[in-house]
């Protein structure tokens, strides 16, 4: 049985750990809300962009030269953009994402080159001495489109220079505060939405449908990358919030248990002292 003083010291240390995790939980909660708002704010732009893309590709179908970002070619090399957090303490978020990416790499017979976003994924891949084309870290909690365009530029360059013949993005999809799922999608070549959404209209295109499409496609890629980054940020913050909440609850439980032990030990001590006094008095009497 540890002494009462020792138990008291442990109670103090666990309580202060609990206070820290509680604070981290609240910080993550507010960052998560902001990230969710940001992800939602991109929606009107994204929807419109997809709509314009689908009607443009329908319009330019059959022209002899397909835009390079839309052109499929035999796949010899694959590029994977892996989005993880810079920091840990987010439950299983990074582990799950990396495990997903690792099985993605193993499933492919073609060599997979990596572009890492976030420190955790980079460190893991460096340890496994994977080939990394580019790495991005410290995008922060509220990335802007300006912060993420370098990522999309790098992958578009490597696609256009035929360094890679397919580009996939692996990120953690934000389903709800409690559920974040690692997932991936093919970024390049671009798969235009199958059916033109909405109306078939005789549009006037200025300067021309091909020209507008050529200007639209890179921005579409920028937007897709930006969106994935925002999802990843929202997932990171909510995973951290949940992890920290669990930690806080565990701390409370331990404190309760220790308090019980402390009281027992204290009582035992008192009983023992009483017994000693009583038997001492008896011996004297």
């Amino acid at each position: 049985m540890p002494s009462t003083r020792e138990i008291r010291r442990r109670i103090r240390s666990v309580t202060s750990t609990g206070q820290i995790t509680k604070a981290m939980e609240m910080v993550a909660a507010s960052k998560m809300r902001r990230a969710q708002v940001m992800a939602l704010a991109t929606r009107p732009y994204a929807d419109k962009m997809r709509e314009a893309l689908s009607s443009l590709t329908a319009q330019t179908q059959g022209t002899e030269t397909l835009h390079p970002l839309l052109t499929r070619r035999p796949v010899k090399n694959i590029c994977l953009v892996l989005m993880t957090a810079d920091r840990g303490l987010a439950g299983g978020l990074n582990t799950n994402m990396i495990r997903y990416a690792a099985s993605f790499i193993l499933e492919r017979s073609e060599p997979v080159h990596l572009v890492t976003v976030g420190r955790r994924g980079r460190d893991w891949m460096v340890r496994r001495s994977r080939h990394i084309l580019a790495e991005f870290t410290q995008l922060g909690d509220r990335p802007s489109l300006n912060d993420t365009t370098p990522i999309s530029r790098v992958v578009m360059d490597s696609y256009l220079s035929e360094e890679c013949d397919e580009v996939h993005v692996a990120y953690t999809h934000f389903q709800s505060t409690l559920v974040q799922r690692p997932t991936s999608f093919r970024l390049l070549p671009i798969e235009p939405p199958a059916e033109p959404i909405g109306r078939y209209l005789e549009f006037i295109y200025e300067p021309s449908a091909e020209e507008v499409l050529a200007q639209l496609l890179p921005r579409y890629v920028d937007m897709e990358v930006y969106h994935a980054v925002l999802e990843a940020v929202a997932s990171e913050q909510s995973a951290r919030m949940v992890a920290m909440r669990n930690a806080t609850e565990n701390a409370k439980e331990i404190v309760n248990e220790l308090t019980l032990r402390y009281n027992k030990a204290r009582q035992e001590g008192i009983t023992k002292e009483l017994l000693e006094i009583a038997s001492g008095a008896q011996a004297l009497g």
Partner: protein, 143 residues
């Protein structure tokens, strides 16, 4: 008088959303004025000023490229960036302009850098122009 619905959205936020009378946008092939009942149109935009007229009031915005779609009485501007005059940091735009000018006079070898600096120059010029509009529009201070 008939109105048109105007939505200006960027990847990060919705900048403007209201009914207006006229939109004049910096189209790729020149200025484009959009009135109600315009034919369906999809155009690329160049960096430039976007003029919104609503109930006799004029609002200018600095747009740095993007697209504009007109369908029915609905105009949607997908802008790379879009700022109202009062949001523009004139000092920052001026600094960007000077940086671009010095780059253009300095780096002659790489074509890529020239194109980028020229684009940066245009964006900063547009911002400065729109920012100056605000000063003209501002009501005289009651003295």
């Amino acid at each position: 008088m008939a109105k048109i619905r105007l939505d200006i959205v960027t990847a990060e936020r919705t900048v403007f959303s209201d009914d207006v009378d006229v939109v004049v946008a910096p189209g790729h092939d020149g200025q484009l004025g959009i009135l109600p009942r315009h034919a369906p149109l999809l155009t690329a935009l160049d960096p430039g000023e976007l003029l919104i007229r609503r109930d006799g009031q004029e609002t200018y915005m600095a747009v740095s490229g993007g697209f504009m779609e007109v369908v029915g009485n609905h105009v949607i501007v997908l802008a790379d960036t879009a700022e109202r005059a009062e949001e523009i940091d004139a000092a920052r735009a001026e600094a960007a302009r000077q940086r671009a000018v010095s780059r253009l006079s300095g780096a002659r070898e790489k074509e890529f850098d020239i194109a980028r600096a020229a684009a940066a120059l245009r964006r900063s010029q547009v911002r400065l122009k729109v920012a100056r509009r605000r000063r003209q529009e501002a009501p005289p201070q009651a003295g």
